[in-house]
Every structure is written in structure tokens, then in C-alpha cells.
């Protein structure tokens, strides 16, 4: 029996999801590839965004993929860490900003 839920080798098999639904799989990968092409944002900027999002959604496959992608593009570890702090700040901020809701409720209910 497989001992862990995640296997690094599975990342390479991502393309296989199309085997069970070719039409939607093809559409997804087509869309995915278009998204990462140079546009108003550079490929480099998109790679950093992907890395930050990967950490926000805590996807080990994406973290693996976009750390490697960043290194290939010459993105430094300092730049990667800065991008992660943006993710962490938004994530932490998102929890904290709900504190306003808590405060509203407390203020409403307390005498």
C-alpha cells in the first residue's frame, strides 16, 4: 500500500488527467499554457505569482514546480522569499480582517 498521499513522481503524470476526459483536459492545459505566456505581465512575474499562490493553497506539486521554474529563470531565493511573504501577509491579513466582524458582533451583543 502507498504510505503517503503525495508522491513527487505524480507531478510528472499531471498530463495523464486528460486520459479520462480528453476534451476538458485539453482545454485546461491549453488555457494553463496561455495563462503563463508573456502578456502585460512577464513570464517571470507570473512565475513568482504562481509560487506565492502555490504556498497559499499549500500544494506540494506546485511548490516543487514553481521553485524549479524560478531557479531556471534566474529568480533569486531572496525574491522567492519576498513573494512568499506577500502570500503570508495576505493570508494572515485575511484572518485578521475578519476580526472586525468579531468586534462588530461583540460590540452589538455586549452591554
Amino acid at each position: 500500500m502507498q504510505k503517503t498521499y503525495y508522491d513527487p513522481a505524480d507531478l510528472k503524470k499531471f498530463g495523464k488527467i486528460s486520459d479520462w476526459n480528453e476534451e476538458l483536459g485539453a482545454k485546461f492545459f491549453d488555457y494553463y499554457n496561455s495563462v503563463f505566456k508573456e502578456g502585460n505581465l512577464s513570464e517571470r512575474e507570473k512565475s513568482l505569482i504562481a509560487l506565492a499562490v502555490a504556498h497559499t493553497i499549500q500544494c506540494p506539486y506546485c511548490i516543487d514546480a514553481y521553485t524549479g521554474d524560478g531557479l531556471q529563470r534566474g529568480i533569486t531565493k531572496e525574491e522567492m522569499m519576498e513573494a512568499l511573504h506577500v502570500a503570508a501577509a495576505i493570508r494572515g491579513g485575511a484572518s485578521l480582517v475578519h476580526g472586525v466582524q468579531m468586534m462588530n458582533k461583540v460590540n452589538k451583543l455586549e452591554m
Binding site: R44, G68, Q72, G74, T76, E78
Partner: protein, 350 residues
């Protein structure tokens, strides 16, 4: 400063051991296909040499640096140096060959005591593109080298220099402490006399190889990043960037094994295999000459001690007819030349 594998008496200083590692393990078990079988899929085996276009001469393994990834295992402790006698034999070939490019490499070629004499003589042969692979820091290493930029200019030498990154941290990690600052100063000196300036005939190109167990990204995008960072931060200009894949031999192989990256790296090379790059791998139009005059299909085969498959084995026996059409000697390190956009001493090939 780290020591060369030779000085450390590492088992990898033995080229036979390296070839064994590259032939056994994951390649013997069949987990990964051998290079020969891979290129056979597209009927490209045996790889054959075409007409000679680039003559690459390694004038010695001595170097003022000891870079971690060095495929030559070069360093101050290496004493293999080409003699003037062998240089004379090379000159005979240089004068008579139809090759358009002469490419001097090392080690640090400038450390060969006959280097300037050789450049002087070779430049008279009128070869179209005369390259010296200079590591930049040598220019700043010692007073006697400070005038190298002028020397290069007076011989219309095309300079190709390594620069693994546009930041100090990444560069020094791969090439040694202080290398970045010295390289920047050397590049500024070269720019000051006209090297690397747009439209200047004094060619200055940079070589990028990844500082770690990963493949280089797109050459054009990296060139853009390098150009922007070097001009913004240091006012430095250069012509082209060649993105070169690190081949799994010598010190880079040692690093891959020690960091437990060897298997993953070989997987990524095989995964990135591009059959379209095979036709243009550099051994098809290059001949590499070692410090002692022996002939190899490329500088990598030289370091693995895999000599040319021809009756003409030494520069003194050079014979175009014998060498043209020879079967190239290959092993699993060749995957480094065919990954992605391919890799050669002139950068991407596909």
C-alpha cells in the same frame, strides 16, 4: 578555496570511474534509456562528424579559480599546460584548416606562459572568429594580466566569459568569494575599450550556467534579465548570452552525487531530451585538442578521456579525410547537450 578533485585524490579524478558511474546505476537497470538507445529511436545513431568548423584548443587545466561546477576540474594546483611545441603543431592545422572558428579554452588560457605568443601567431592565420574563453577575474588577478583587454583588442579576439548570475550571492557561491566584484570590474574595463558595446566589432559574450542541479531557462529571456540588471546596476553592456547546461561530469558530477541530486538531475535531462537538438550537437562540427595534443570530439569527452574514434589521434596526425565522418564517442553525459533547446559552447542549438 576548494581544491581540485585531483588534489583531493577523489575517486572521481579518475575519468574511468566517471564513465562507469554514467553507464551503471539507473542506466544499467533500465530505469532510464542509454543515450545510444534514445538517439536510435530517431535513427540518429551513430552520430557522425561533419566538416570541421570549430577548432577548440585547451591550452591547460591551470586556473586561478576553482569553481564548484567546473567540468575541467581546473585550479591553481593543475599543472597540465600545453607546450610551445604542441602549439606549433596546432598552428600548422590552424593555417590549413577551413574552420571558421578558433576557440581557446582552459583552465584560464591566459596562465599558459606561451599564451600571448600563441595568440600572436594564431591571429595571423586569418580565421574569421577567434575566441578566447576568459574567466574575467584573471584580468584583475595580477598586475601582469591588467593589460589583457588591450592585448585582446589588438588581436581582434572575441571574448567569451562566464557569469552564472547578475547578483553577487549566486555568482560567488558557484565561482568563489570575490569573483563577482572582480568580474564586474573586468567587464567595465572591457567596455571602456569598446568590448561589448552595441555595433562594436569587439565581441563580448557571456556564458550562463545554472548554479545548481537545475537546467537553464530560456536563453533569450535570461539574456534580457542579464542585460537589464548589468546595465542598471553597473552600466555594463555585452553582446550575447549563451545558456549552457552543466554536464554531469567531473566536479559537477561530484556535486550532484554529494548533494544526492544525481539521479533526479539525470531524470530531468532525459525528460528534457529534444531529438531536434541532436543534429546540431557541437561535436558534429567541432574538434577538441587537449593540452598534450590529443584529439577529442568535444571538451567533455576530453575530460572523460574518451579519444576520437579515428586513426588520427593527435594534432600532429591531423587529417581532415580521416576525421570527417568519424563516429562520435557518446555516453550518458551527452544528454546534457540535447536537453530542452540543446546546449553547446555557443549556447542553445535548437
Amino acid at each position: 578555496m576548494i581544491k581540485s578533485l585531483h588534489k583531493r585524490e577523489s575517486e572521481l579524478a579518475n575519468s574511468k570511474r566517471q564513465v562507469e558511474i554514467l553507464s551503471n546505476g539507473i542506466f544499467q537497470s533500465g530505469d532510464l534509456p542509454k543515450f545510444k538507445d534514445k538517439i536510435s529511436e530517431t535513427n540518429q545513431f551513430p552520430l557522425k562528424a561533419k566538416k570541421l568548423e570549430i577548432l577548440q584548443i585547451n591550452v591547460g587545466y591551470m586556473c586561478n579559480q576553482v569553481c564548484e561546477h567546473c567540468h575541467v576540474d581546473a585550479g591553481p594546483d593543475r599543472k597540465e599546460i600545453m607546450t610551445r611545441e604542441t602549439m606549433k603543431q596546432c598552428l600548422e592545422v590552424i593555417k590549413n584548416t577551413g574552420a571558421h572558428t578558433l576557440d581557446l579554452t582552459g583552465g584560464a588560457p591566459e596562465m599558459n606562459p606561451d599564451f600571448r605568443w600563441f595568440v600572436d601567431e594564431a591571429s595571423k592565420a586569418g580565421i574569421k572568429d577567434f575566441i578566447v574563453r576568459s574567466n574575467l577575474t584573471i584580468i584583475r588577478a595580477n598586475k601582469k594580466y591588467h593589460d589583457l583587454p588591450e592585448f585582446f583588442k589588438s588581436h581582434n579576439v572575441h571574448i567569451v566569459s562566464s557569469m552564472p548570475h547578475w547578483t553577487k550571492g549566486k555568482t560567488d557561491k558557484q565561482r568563489g568569494d570575490g569573483v563577482f566584484d572582480k568580474s564586474i570590474k573586468a567587464l567595465q574595463d572591457l567596455n571602456a575599450i569598446g568590448y561589448g558595446i552595441p555595433n562594436s566589432d569587439l565581441r563580448l559574450d557571456l556564458v550562463y550556467n545554472p548554479s545548481g542541479a537545475f537546467l537553464p531557462g530560456n536563453q533569450a529571456s535570461l539574456e534580457k534579465e542579464f542585460k537589464k540588471a548589468l546595465i542598471d546596476d553597473f552600466g555594463i553592456q555585452f553582446h550575447n548570452l549563451f545558456a549552457i547546461t552543466n554536464l554531469p561530469i567531473s566536479r559537477f558530477l561530484d556535486y550532484l552525487i554529494a548533494s544526492e541530486n544525481y539521479e533526479d538531475y539525470m531524470y530531468s535531462l532525459v525528460e528534457a531530451y529534444n531529438p531536434a537538438a541532436v543534429a546540431n550537437v557541437m561535436c558534429t562540427n567541432t574538434l577538441s585538442v587537449s593540452w598534450d595534443g590529443y584529439l577529442y570530439d568535444c571538451d567533455f569527452n576530453q575530460m572523460l578521456n574518451l579519444p576520437v574514434n579515428s586513426k588520427a589521434k593527435h594534432i600532429s596526425e591531423y587529417n581532415e579525410e580521416l576525421l570527417e565522418g568519424r563516429n562520435i564517442v557518446i555516453s550518458q553525459h551527452c544528454y546534457g547537450c540535447t536537453a530542452g533547446a540543446g546546449s553547446s559552447c555557443q549556447g542553445s542549438v535548437a
